[in-house]
Amino acid sequence: MSATTVKEPWVHVVKRDRMTVGKSALIHLAGVVLALIICALVIFMLTGLNPIDVYAGIWDGALGTSRRTWVTLRDSAILLCIGFAITPAFRMRFWNIGAEGQVLVGAMATAAVMIYGANWPSWALYTLMPIAGVLAGALWGLIPAVFKAKWNTNETLFTLMLNYVAMQAVTYAIIFWENPKGSNSVGLINMQSEAGWLPSIADNKYLLTIFVVLVIMVLLYGYMKYTKQGYEISVVGESENTARYAGINVKRVIIRTMALSGALAGVAGFLLVSGAGHTISTSVADGRGFTAIVVAWLGKLNPFAMLVVAFFLVFMQRGSIQIASQFGLNDSASEILTGIILFCVLGCEFFINYRLEFRHEEEAVKA
């Protein structure tokens, strides 16, 4: 029998043993290096620019000055907060893609308290703002959860559509709150008095936001890992049948967990209005509700991994603003680079789980 008629496939995929942490880290590192090389080629071929300059521009845009560094850190924190918001829902396999809307209504409620409570004593203002944000977010999370629990509606579609409802609600609210009249925007709320603006700590107006998110991170980690409710969420997520078998009230867990998920998104909304923008518009969430899904998935719902991912995404995003102005590239340039890097890093997963086996040449010769 000649080798030509035996058409063994040139390559086939073989499942690998579980890899050591060090080895998989090495593969990831190789992925990043490969990504940087591909990016360099792409940059050079498309624009003719020196890739090193472009990389330097990105670095400069994200971390070039102390202010830029703090903004990058604060934005990472807020993105991370939304990532944390969807974590319990995702752990329960409840596909909450409505964080965008939950953040928006949280932001809207916060803004409402800021506007109507401009002259309240500051303790009342600062207590009511987060409460309003959290309650509004929780309510927005509860609606799809109740429908899911009672009538088994599709939560993906439901949460997605509620995003648009939230957007329209904000548009409607702006009509009442627009300042100055006819501008169709709210402008900076309480610009003079700065009432309801998140205070600075140690002369740093970004620190409090970052601190709040870190506290949430620790609490959420403890909640998911060490409490009975956290355990119930894991069981429901792994198998609803097992949960029922163990006597867990699945409906109650779904409703409770989505309220928590929405509430955390509400916190992000509060931070965006009170801590960052001091205004409200339909773009206040700016797609973060969807980016947070990327954060949660890439981080495999592990808070520490999510921190790295959130920072990376914001880093690239902030860098893109810089290279846009410095080299006249548009925002999409940095998105291409982000895409290439993510592709390479995610591609590593394949090589961690599988290895390729090539046709044994010597055997073919023998045959």
Binding site: K228, N241, A246
Partner: protein
């Protein structure tokens, strides 16, 4: 001159990561022969067959069909070579008829002459003695009819080599006989048949030769005529084992649970249990027999509070012999009442356990609620898990290793271990040894007997009638959701039980004419 084998596998090896599923396996099948591939669960039978049918690709080794070396890269390649495999889970489209399923995906002219196709298929079925209604839709068929459709489908596509993966697991004794006679007809007309099984008496009654695998390794091939149950078991397990299941005399025998006229409907509103009544007594094992899907699952789930009951009542007698009504109680309520009821469900990883969690996390399914703290106590379940791992010899790297990665026998030990740890007064087990190797099976039988001796009332749903007849004190037979009889396990015969297993429809009909 020696006959040329239809299929020959030489030195075939397949690895999944560290696990070697098949190591250097040789196998040959001749035309007009039935070859049994025998081995315990996890010995690599299905993997080996999947390499013939193009689902897996071997890492090493060569395959010859009619003396010619071939490479099977996909199920399509296997089809071209005339290899057809009937999987345990049928691959049929429910809303199409038998005939439509049989021709589905075949190349042909633009227009479809269904009459000619049907005539062709009918000729085929007549030749081998199949009993099949080609115009019936798949969803209206019983499991055994669906299996027939699968076989006819393969034959119609010109398969000369038929691989059947545990074909009798879902059949009654009578249906099994029918299948075997069809397979013999096919053999006599020159086809090669490979049948994967771990039931020894089937091997002996059906096949011409037996190839035995153990832990992925090829042990040897023997002529069936020269083999006995004992010799085959020894090849399979690697040492002598006694095949007798002990059956201690029942003790105590007080009524522990009374089920009276229980009916249930499924989600589509069809009645799946019809006026089921029986009593379960302490210190005995009550077997529940029936064709798969006769309501066994619903019966156990109804008792466990997982399935709403539409009529009837379930009464439990507690330590003080007080009657406690469980009929409308949820699982959580039953636990809260202090009813010591344990349940080992059929779907171990989908219902009894959480595959992604470790042994500790799975112990917590029962214990996590204890205490008033909002935090979970992991210490108690952890020591419980350690105890079960030690006492039942569960093979696992650690108490935190996901149970989903364990072998079937170890998974079941964790589950049964957890359920008997609460010293139940009623223990319900569904298909407790399905997918387990012989040694693990005997461990489980032993555990059930231990529970019986300590006075628990054991309800055991089983599929292997030989085992039920050897293990149980009484056997309740379910058919189409009705109890068609309760027989004495010591005196009943397999034929008697087999007949009762198909009488449910008649019982239904009788009821309705009344």
């Amino acid at each position: 001159m020696e006959k040329q084998p239809m299929i020959e596998m030489r030195g075939v090896t397949k690895r999944f990561g560290k696990v070697v599923a098949n190591e250097n396996v040789d196998l040959s099948v001749y035309p007009g022969e039935i070859l049994s591939v025998l081995g315990e669960n996890g010995s690599g039978k299905t993997t080996l067959m999947n390499m013939l049918s193009g689902i897996y690709f071997p890492d090493e080794g060569r395959i010859f069909i009619n003396g010619k070396e071939v490479v099977i890269r996909s199920p399509k390649d296997a089809f071209v070579l005339g290899i057809g495999m009937i999987h345990q889970h049928f691959k049929l489209v429910d809303v199409l008829t038998a005939a439509e399923n049989i021709i589905l995906g075949l190349p042909g002219a633009l227009t479809l002459d269904m009459k000619k196709v049907t005539a062709d298929i009918l000729a085929l079925t007549k030749r081998y003695g199949f009993d099949i209604d080609l115009n019936r839709k798949i969803y209206e068929m019983s499991v055994s009819q669906k299996q027939t459709v699968e076989i006819v489908k393969m034959l119609y596509r010109g398969a000369n080599i038929l691989i059947l993966d545990e074909p009798t697991a879902v059949l009654t004794p009578q249906e099994t006989d029918k299948l075997f006679s069809v397979l013999r007809n096919m053999r006599d007309s020159g086809k090669s048949i490979l049948i994967i099984t771990h039931k020894l008496h089937e091997v002996l009654s059906l096949s011409d030769r037996v190839s035995v695998l153990r832990k992925g390794k090829y042990i040897g091939t023997v002529q069936t005529a020269e083999a006995t149950e004992m010799s085959l078991t020894e090849m399979m397990v690697g040492k002598k084992v006694t095949l007798d299941i002990e059956r201690p005399e029942p003790i105590g025998s007080e009524v522990r649970m009374e089920v009276k006229g229980v009916s249930c409907v499924n989600r589509e509103g069809r009645e799946v249990l019809h006026q089921v009544s029986f009593t379960a007594k302490s210190g005995e094992i009550l077997g529940i027999a029936g064709i798969a899907g006769s309501g066994q699952k619903q019966l156990l789930e109804a008792i466990a509070g997982l399935q709403p009951v539409t009529a009837g009542s379930i009464i439990y007698f507690d330590e003080q012999n007080q009657q406690r009504e469980l009929t409308k109680c949820s699982t959580a309520e039953i636990r809260m009442m202090g009813v010591r009821l344990s349940f080992v469900p059929e779907d171990r990883l989908g219902m009894g356990l959480v595959g992604a969690m470790g042994s500790t996390g799975n112990m917590m399914l029962r214990t996590y609620r204890s205490g008033s703290s909002v935090f979970t106590d992991r210490k108690t379940p952890r020591s419980m898990a350690e105890k079960i791992i030690k006492e039942l010899e569960v093979v696992t790297p650690s108490v935190e290793a996901p149970v989903g990665r364990m072998s079937g026998g170890n998974v079941q030990k964790v589950l049964v271990g957890r359920e008997i740890a609460s010293s139940p007064r009623v223990l319900m087990v569904a298909y407790p040894v399905r997918g387990l190797d012989i040694n693990s099976s005997y461990t489980i039988y032993h555990l059930l007997n231990e529970q019986k001796k300590s006075g628990a009332s054991v309800l055991c749903v089983g599929e292997d009638l030989d085992v039920l007849l050897a293990l149980c004190d009484r056997i309740l037979v379910l058919s189409a959701g009705c109890v068609t009889g309760i027989v004495d396990g010591r005196t009943a015969t397999k034929e008697e039980v087999g007949l009762l297993m198909t009488q449910g429809d008649r019982a239904h009909a009788k009821e309705e004419t009344k």
